[in-house]
């Protein structure tokens, strides 16, 4: 690769455009990152499940109070 072409490609403006053309090295926006993240469904289920179990124990405590 000749020096002129190498310097041309090394220019950040050019390299950014080249990246766009080939769809690589594009820093995704925050919104894209958020949309691409997998929803931690199981984590949510387990956390809600834990809270539900403790709520059940609390309800049992309330019921025991009425004995």
């Amino acid at each position: 690769m000749d020096t002129v072409r190498a310097r041309f490609l090394a220019n950040p403006r050019v390299s950014n455009r080249m990246s766009c053309r080939y769809g690589t090295h594009v820093p995704p926006s925050g919104r894209v990152v958020l949309l691409q993240m997998e929803l931690p469904v199981l984590d949510i289920v387990y956390v809600l499940g834990v809270i539900a179990v403790f709520a059940l124990v609390g309800v049992i405590g309330w019921g025991v109070e009425k004995l």
Partner: protein, 557 residues
């Protein structure tokens, strides 16, 4: 030689525990009745906004227990889920969701059931900041509940049963932490490792490469036993030479497991102002312990089959370094307390021998039981025994000057029904739901037939009684077992706590009734016998059918 070794171990254990009984029991009584706060405690109360001089009703005490436990559980869960980005994680990935839930529930409930291989799953940060912390606090919660119940017997017409935050803090700072520091030093001096080395690659004599695990083992090992938690740093638990290097450490770990549970009757006797009551409870615990240990040892020494006969006992799965007796002693101690640590594989015991650890847990782990949970379990049984005794001879049901009325009996009856219901329901669902059954039979059970049933039964009995030991032939790291056992551990821990605190509140609200000629004496050998009988009969009536399907059927084959 084996017999001499066995006698020496028992004699040493009895001697050490006898020497510890009074000082440890009296010290615990002092901790929970002292009016003075330490400087560090005052600082902690300021941080969490607690007035240590204000006492709580049983409902408020319960809210404290539940709030503290749910926050702890979610913290341990998140710690595991973020393991990959935590320091000192040894490059280990995040723990999967189901396993994280199971482990968090397990350690918060003082069970320490482990569906995973710890040295290959948990990094040092999770082990120290998550699991070891729960080893301390879950043990302190158990002792606090027992003390709250004892206050119920002690007080007259009181609306309060103590302050949960004060009891918790004192249990950790004045009891568990100092003993754990001393015990860890003893373990390190005896050969248990304590480092942050990760895995060390060594070349073996045959030229192979082996990765030796390191880690802060001694500091975990001591509270694992002292708090009757039981979760090992390594997969082999106390059969691993880095966790339990020699016969002395094996004996020392037995002492750690039994020290607090056997000293709590002394605390009880002192707090209710009658040491004879404490000795009666101790006698019940001791008698059941000795009977269970003897039966298990005899089963393993007389294993059927050519190999056990030639070897002089059933040696499969035993701690080969120390022999059968050290294995059965550790197994009995571990399952009669709520520890669940193992130095031998209970799954490999003879069929009747394997039934014994199960029965130990089915008894409710009351002889001597887990730290705190053993004493409050035994006191609930004592209430039932007083009631039964009263019915038998026509005497007024009273215990320590408190009338045992309909409310107390309802609470005690619910207490003894909760754990078996959870255990048997969990096992039944494992086989009753077709999809779950297919998964359990194809993935989890490695031994078909009666032994397979015993493995599932053992898992649910262990989880609901907060023991944590397992028949290791069962693969429990599946979505069903991680979730079902996690729920069983939480319900098996916290529903009995609700009932015990309600009982404490009900008893504290009563005035004391003076003893009359119609009062059943509860410090004499007759009552000790009655309480043993009630404990055994309740267990037998509840579990005999399922034992007949599992280990008893296997023993007859």
């Amino acid at each position: 030689m084996d017999v001499f070794f066995a006698i020496l171990q028992v004699a040493s254990l009895v001697l050490i525990l006898s020497l510890l009984y009074r000082p440890v029991g009296d010290y615990m009584a002092h901790i929970y009745t002292s009016r003075k706060d330490l400087k560090v405690e005052r600082g902690f109360y300021r941080v969490i906004g607690v007035d240590s001089s204000v006492e709580q009703t049983w409902q408020s005490y319960l809210r404290g227990v539940l709030a503290f436990s749910v926050v702890g559980l979610l913290f341990v869960y998140l710690l595991q889920r973020f393991q990959a980005v935590l320091p000192y994680s040894l490059g280990l990935p995040a723990v999967p969701e189901g396993l994280s839930f199971n482990t968090a529930a397990s350690f918060v409930a003082n069970t320490n059931w482990q569906s995973y291989s710890p040295d290959l799953t948990m990094g040092y940060t999770v082990q120290i900041a998550g699991l070891a912390v729960q080893n301390f606090v879950s043990a302190a919660v158990g002792i606090a509940i027992a003390i709250a119940l004892v206050r119920g017997f002690r007080r007259r017409e009181s609306a309060t049963i103590g302050n949960f935050w004060v009891d918790l803090t004192r249990g950790i700072l004045r009891l568990l932490l100092p003993v754990a520091v001393l015990g860890a030093v003893v373990l390190i001096a005896s050969g248990v490792i304590q480092n942050f080395n990760g895995f060390t690659e060594v070349t073996t004599l045959s030229g192979g490469i082996q990765n030796l695990p390191g880690g802060p083992v001694a500091s975990q090992e001591v509270i694992k036993n002292l708090g009757t938690n039981g979760g090992g740093f390594f997969n082999a638990n106390a059969a691993h030479p880095f966790e339990n290097p020699n016969a002395w450490t094996s004996l020392f770990q037995n002492v750690l497991m039994l020290m607090i549970p056997f000293a709590l009757p002394r605390t009880f006797g002192r707090l209710v102002g009658n040491h004879k009551q404490g000795y009666a409870i101790l006698a019940v615990m001791g008698t059941i312990f000795v009977a269970s240990l003897t039966f298990l040892t005899l089963c393993e020494l007389n294993g059927a089959g050519t190999a056990p006969q030639l070897a002089g006992g059933a040696m499969e799965g035993k701690e080969q370094r120390f022999g059968i007796f050290a294995s059965t002693l550790f197994g009995s101690t571990s399952t009669l307390t709520s520890t669940g640590a193992v130095n031998s594989m209970h799954d490999s015991y003879t069929s009747l021998g394997g039934m014994m650890p199960m029965i130990n847990m089915m008894l409710g782990e009351v002889a001597p039981g887990g730290v705190g949970s053993g004493l409050y379990g035994m006191l609930v049984l004592a209430i039932i025994a007083v009631f039964v005794g009263g019915l038998l001879v026509g005497r007024t049901p009273e215990y320590l000057g408190k009338k045992i009325g309909p409310k107390e009996i309802k609470l005690a009856s619910l207490y003894i029904l909760v754990t078996p219901t959870i255990a048997l329901l969990g096992m039944a669902l494992s086989f009753a739901i077709p999809a779950v059954r297919a998964d359990v039979e194809s993935t989890s059970i490695w031994n078909a037939g009666t032994h397979g049933l015993s493995e599932v039964l053992y898992a649910f009995v262990s989880a609901s009684n907060n023991n944590g030991s397992a028949f290791a032939g069962l693969t429990a790291n599946t979505p069903w077992f991680n979730t079902a056992l996690g729920v069983a551990m939480l319900l098996g821990r916290f529903i009995p706590i609700v009932l015990v605190l309600a009982l404490a509140g009900s008893l504290a609200a009563q005035d004391k009734t003076p003893a009359t000629s119609g009062t059943l004496p509860t410090h004499r050998p007759q009552f000790v016998g009655l309480l043993i009988g009630v404990t055994v009969i309740i267990t037998a009536l509840t579990y005999f059918p399922v034992l007949a399907l599992g280990p008893l059927a296997e023993g007859l084959q």
